[in-house]
């Protein structure tokens, strides 16, 4: 049913519809409303789950690792510093092949302390073995949560899933969302039935010492599974579309790319702004388009290569920066494409710096002018040392 909802409310609702048995999370701006709503659902008796209060994100992640290992579908969510504190456990969760679902409300990292949006937090954990999907809007986020459990829990996958939503922009943004019913979600998402779990009748150990004799094989197994996910995820996407009528669950989305001369590549809510700019520039006769990366891990290299095959100029929008190198997405797009393509990288929106239509227009024109691997957009020169000014 269509409703006008705050993002966090919609995401909490989506998590509830997946019937997690254990929820553990530590509140952090801008994720807090999600936890609050879920706690309320449990307190009201609307959701039969245990919420476990903890003293830190490290413990929250550890709790859901334990509950998931016992065969219970588990949910957590965090943001920024919280995700950093979880990091050790985040890698463990993937290594133990526990299909937990986490919502990451994307926010900048300290220092300086900044509660506003960018994607540095989740991008910094791209190597952890989690499937990562980025939502453009609240509807997509809801859909990715529901499909995320289904993808991660496939016996052939058994990997955790991080659904990334831009902090404030989506978490605190209110918009119309078509919320599936419990019956529909129950039909789509069967109860969690893991191929292995901690069970006193059938003792099992998880996360033990894995020496040079076995460790590299565990990494290889995850890597091969990630390759499989590139096929499995779109299959679940087709199932999702059949059930709910929406195409949210996919590797990439192509927007007006067919005859595009310049294309931007981006992840998350900024894709909406880019689409509006594309429609305006197209009206003026400029051939521009967008390649939206929905699934960042596994990285859909072949799909990216195919989508951009005929586009001569590409600009990659990164809401993160691998300091000392370039934006993270830029390096991967560059690696996925042929050498003759002109690919530029743009770092923007860090720490909540507003990305306006003008910013995007400027990125489109700069992408065609000159190749530059790492251009920071909308810098305030008055805040910079003279020799750093642009």
């Amino acid at each position: 049913m269509k409703q006008f909802l705050e993002g966090s409310w919609a995401f909490a609702d989506a998590a509830k519809l997946c019937r997690p048995g254990v929820i553990s999370a530590y509140p952090i701006t801008p994720q807090t409303h999600i936890v609050e709503h879920l706690a309320q659902f449990v307190a009201n008796g609307e959701l039969n789950a245990q919420t476990i209060n903890v003293e830190s994100e490290h413990s929250a992640a550890s709790v859901v690792l334990g509950s998931q290992a016992c065969g219970v579908r588990s949910f957590t969510c965090t943001s920024s510093q919280g995700l950093m504190l979880m990091a050790e456990v985040v890698f463990n969760i993937a290594g133990m092949r526990m299909p937990i679902l986490m919502i990451c409300a994307n926010r900048a990292l300290s220092a300086p302390i900044n509660i506003w949006n960018d994607q540095q937090d989740s991008v910094s954990l791209r190597d952890s073995g989690w499937i990562q999907m980025y939502a453009e809007n609240n509807q997509e986020a809801v859909d990715l949560v529901i499909a995320g459990y289904k993808i991660g829990e496939k016996p052939r996958v058994m990997l955790p899933v991080m659904v990334c939503v831009d902090g404030f922009i989506l978490t605190h943004g209110m918009e119309v969302v078509d919320m599936p019913t419990q019956e529909e979600v129950d039909q789509f998402l069967p109860p969690y039935n893991p191929p292995y779990k901690l069970d006193v009748e059938k003792p099992l150990s998880l996360g033990l010492l894995g020496g040079p004799d076995v460790y590299i094989e565990t990494r290889y197994a995850i890597q091969k599974t990630m390759e499989d996910v590139l096929t499995i995820l779109p299959e679940v996407g087709d199932e999702f579309k059949k059930k709910f009528g929406r195409e949210s669950v996919r590797l990439i989305e192509e927007y007006r790319l067919d005859d595009a001369e310049v294309a931007l590549v981006a992840m998350g809510s900024v894709c909406g702004t880019i689409k509006d700019v594309i429609d305006e520039l197209r009206q003026k006769g400029q051939k521009v388009g967008l390649l939206k990366i929905v699934t960042y891990r596994p990285f859909p290299e072949a799909a990216v290569n195919k989508a951009l095959a005929k586009v001569p100029y590409v600009g990659v929008v990164d809401k993160n920066i691998s300091l000392g190198a370039t934006g993270a997405l830029y390096t991967e797009i560059k690696a996925a494409c042929s050498h003759d393509k002109k690919i530029s990288g743009f770092v923007m929106g860090l720490g909540g710096r507003d990305i306006t239509k003008n910013s995007i227009e400027s990125v489109f024109s700069q992408s065609k002018e000159k190749v530059n691997s790492c251009t920071f957009v909308d810098l305030h020169n008055d805040l910079l040392w003279e020799e750093f000014r642009v």
Partner: protein, 178 residues
């Protein structure tokens, strides 16, 4: 697409106002994207809430710099926050004023003022001007009907029956006052 910027102090209900506006528009099959100024404002600090709406889903995620409409909940912010800056030609402003507030002037802007805090104090018992302003906004802009705002207010206050009827009356009084 139309854009609305709301001026208030944290605690005066700017986000609630944006939420009710979005809900009312939703009842008329319009799409909107309502969002607060993303900050960590303390009670009493100047803040904004925003809403843009259209016949089709909203994709634009930037802040609003050139609003078609402004709603000023706290008249002390008109000057300090430069509330009339950036307005589009033919913009409309719905402004809560106090008896001592000079009537704001802005060229090309249709300014509607009302003693919203006074009305709210009389009806609700506290100077929460926002529901009064919502009624006035419906009348002035025709963006949605009075019925849609009343329905949206009813939904928003469904868990607070003690203040629901008072707020519905406040909306109606605001509608009649402009």
């Amino acid at each position: 697409m139309k854009e609305i910027k709301i001026f208030a102090r944290a605690g005066q209900g700017a986000i609630t106002t944006a939420a009710i506006l979005g809900e009312a528009l939703f009842y008329e099959n319009k799409y909107s994207y309502a969002f607060p100024h993303f900050g960590a404002a303390r009670m009493g600090a100047p803040m904004n809430a925003f809403l843009r709406f259209d016949e089709k889903p909203i994709r634009l995620r930037s802040k609003i710099y050139e609003p078609d409409y402004i709603i000023v909940i706290d008249p002390t912010l008109i000057e300090s926050q430069n509330a009339f800056a950036g307005l589009t030609p033919d913009a409309k402003a719905v402004v809560a004023v106090r008896p001592e507030t000079p009537v704001p002037q802005a060229s090309g802007v249709e300014v509607h003022t009302l003693l919203a805090e006074k009305i709210a104090t009389e009806i609700i018992g506290r100077p929460f001007a926002n529901t009064v302003l919502l009624g006035a906004f419906a009348k002035i802009t025709g963006a949605f009907t009075l019925d849609s705002v009343l329905k949206a207010v009813s939904k928003r206050f469904e868990s607070k029956p003690a203040i629901l009827q008072k707020n519905l009356d406040a909306v109606k009084k605001g509608y009649e006052s402009v």
